[in-house]
Each structure stands twice: as structure tokens, then as C-alpha cells.
Point group: C2
Chain length 145, copies 2
DNA sequence: TTGTAAATGAGACTCTATATCATTATTTTA
DNA sequence: TAAAATAATGATATAGAGTCTCATTTACAA
């Protein structure tokens, strides 16, 4: 698998855009952790590494990463957008606990077939999906009973 | 099936809250159309009916309707929340066209079984799900080729 | 009818995200 | 390499969604 930096640089060049230190640092930080982060958290992580990249550039670069398909948006009912890196990872969906708000990842092969069927039934060319299942995790069920 | 107003009133009473003309009018308007609306649109519809209900009350009442389960939140990448009435309707998911942004509803029986399996595999008590599939509708595919 | 607790409405406020624009950096061209 | 052209950055202003405050009004129950 080709390194993230290379793929991103190619994406930028293809769009007639430039590779900059800021963009490379943000990319590196985004791929340094596997979790669901928000912009504020990302800025903090960059700061901790001694980098003072402006909020505007962080927002702009995240938009580019999403457009490139290397980063995904995660909807968390929290008033602001969250993100996760995707490139190099198998597609997954999210289980959300309504008790502790924890987000659990799970893989789901059978959605592929379902997608195919739904596409045919609705005359739709399907590119992807977002599935979030919500309920209660083991820990939260235990506490209540 | 019991009328919306009755169900909502019961929900309010159960919470120690009061039934008010504003809440009833908002409820009625929400159930007057089957579509995916935002707060601004809802306020406009109320205005057209000669009602001047404050923005704050509309927001507050929508939150109650969502809490009651009669109304669902619809995530549209548009900078603000959208809603749809749910009570009295079979559960459905959304197909979104990346071309014209149209939102198509579809029903999906096989997700029930999938939910069951995923719940067992992840030790999760599943309450519900949100599935959005995105791709290109027939019209948008036609235009391009 | 009266008292009390809750809801409304106007507007201030918060917060996320975007737009603006002067300055700085990168890339191209000569 | 130097100069010109183009794009990106960062500081800050701005926009917009949604929440909060609080004085006034209303619903409900005693
Ligand atoms: Mn994830
Ligand atoms: Mn719908
Ligand atoms: Zn939990
Ligand atoms: Zn379309």
C-alpha cells in the first residue's frame, strides 16, 4: 500500500494544488491515531507537537482529506463534526451506545450484497453507505439491571 | 392507530409537562407534510398559516418530538439539521444522490436479521439504526453519459 | 378563582465553520 | 538564479445554527 503522504500529494497535484508543510503535518497527525476526533482535538495534538497551524488551515485541509476519500466524516450528536482516517483501513460501520455514548466499530460483509439488491430495486448506482446502529452496550445494560 | 396529538399529549403529561397551543400547532404542521424539512421551513409553514410561534419554541418542541420518537432527525450535509415525521410510518432508510442531492426513501426488511446478528456478535442490545446509502440516481447517470 | 409552576417570546449569546484579505510561500518562467 | 505568477497561510471578521436568559404570559390544579 502506498504511503498516505504520497497519495495525498498526488491528489493535490491532480487538483492543481500545492503540497505544503502545513498540509503534510496535518495529514501525518490525522494518521497517527486511530480514533474519532474533532477539529479542536486535532489542533491540540498539533500544538503538542510544537506546531502552530491556524484553525483555518486545519479546516481547509480536513475538507481536502475528506474530498480525497482518505478521511471520513463521523456524525456524533455533539454539535460539531468528527473525523476518522479511512485510507488503508477496511470499511466499517459504527455501533453507538445510547448509555455511555461509546462508539464501537464493526465490519459487515453482508451489506455488500444488500447494496447490490437495493441498487437494482431503486435504479441507483451505489457508491457507498453509512450505517450507524444504536442501542446499549454490555456494560450499560449491566449497570441498569 | 391513535392520533398524533393524543400520543404527544400523553408523552408530555408523562414528563410532567403541559400541552400548549404552540406545541399542538407545531405537531400538526409537522405531520401535515411527508418530507424532510428544516427549522426555517417549518417556521415558514407556520407563518403561512398565520401563526407566529417563536423560533425558541419551535426548537424546543422539535426536541420534544424527537425525544418522544414521533419525529426523526435526518442528517443532510447542509449545515443544519433536518427532520421528518416518523409516527405512523413504517421504518425506512435513505438513498442520497450525490448528483442532484435528492433523497429517496426505501424500505429494507433484511436489516432486521442483520441487526440481530450484529447485536449477538458485539454483545449489544440494538434499539435501531440509521442507514444512508449514497450514489447516483437514474437521471443523474443519464445526463453524464 | 387563585396560586403556582411551566411555557413563551424577544433578543442576547455561544459556538462551529466559513469568508476575507494582506502577507508569505511555492512553483513556473525567463 | 531571479523575477513573476499563482496559491496557501494566518489573523480576524463574519455568518449561521442553535441555546440561554429572563420578563411576561399561560396552563393547570387546588
Ligand atoms: Mn470508525
Ligand atoms: Mn425519510
Ligand atoms: Zn454503553
Ligand atoms: Zn440525482
Amino acid at each position: 500500500m502506498r504511503p498516505e503522504s504520497e497519495v495525498f500529494r498526488e491528489f493535490l497535484i491532480h487538483k492543481g494544488m500545492r503540497s505544503t508543510p502545513e498540509r503534510e503535518e496535518i495529514l501525518a497527525e490525522v494518521f497517527a491515531h486511530h480514533d474519532h476526533f474533532d477539529v479542536e482535538e486535532l489542533i491540540m495534538r498539533l500544538r503538542r507537537r510544537g506546531l502552530r497551524i491556524s484553525r483555518a488551515s486545519v479546516y481547509r485541509t480536513l475538507a481536502l482529506l475528506v474530498e480525497s476519500g482518505m478521511v471520513g466524516e463521523v456524525y456524533i450528536e455533539d454539535g460539531h463534526m468528527h473525523y476518522e482516517h479511512i485510507y488503508g483501513h477496511e470499511h466499517h460501520c459504527h455501533l453507538r451506545c445510547l448509555g455511555c455514548r461509546k462508539l464501537i466499530e464493526f465490519r459487515n460483509g453482508s451489506l455488500k450484497e444488500m447494496e447490490k439488491r437495493i441498487g437494482q430495486e431503486n435504479d441507483f448506482e451505489i457508491i457507498g453507505h453509512k450505517l450507524e446502529i444504536y442501542g446499549y452496550c454490555a456494560a450499560c445494560r449491566g449497570e441498569e439491571s
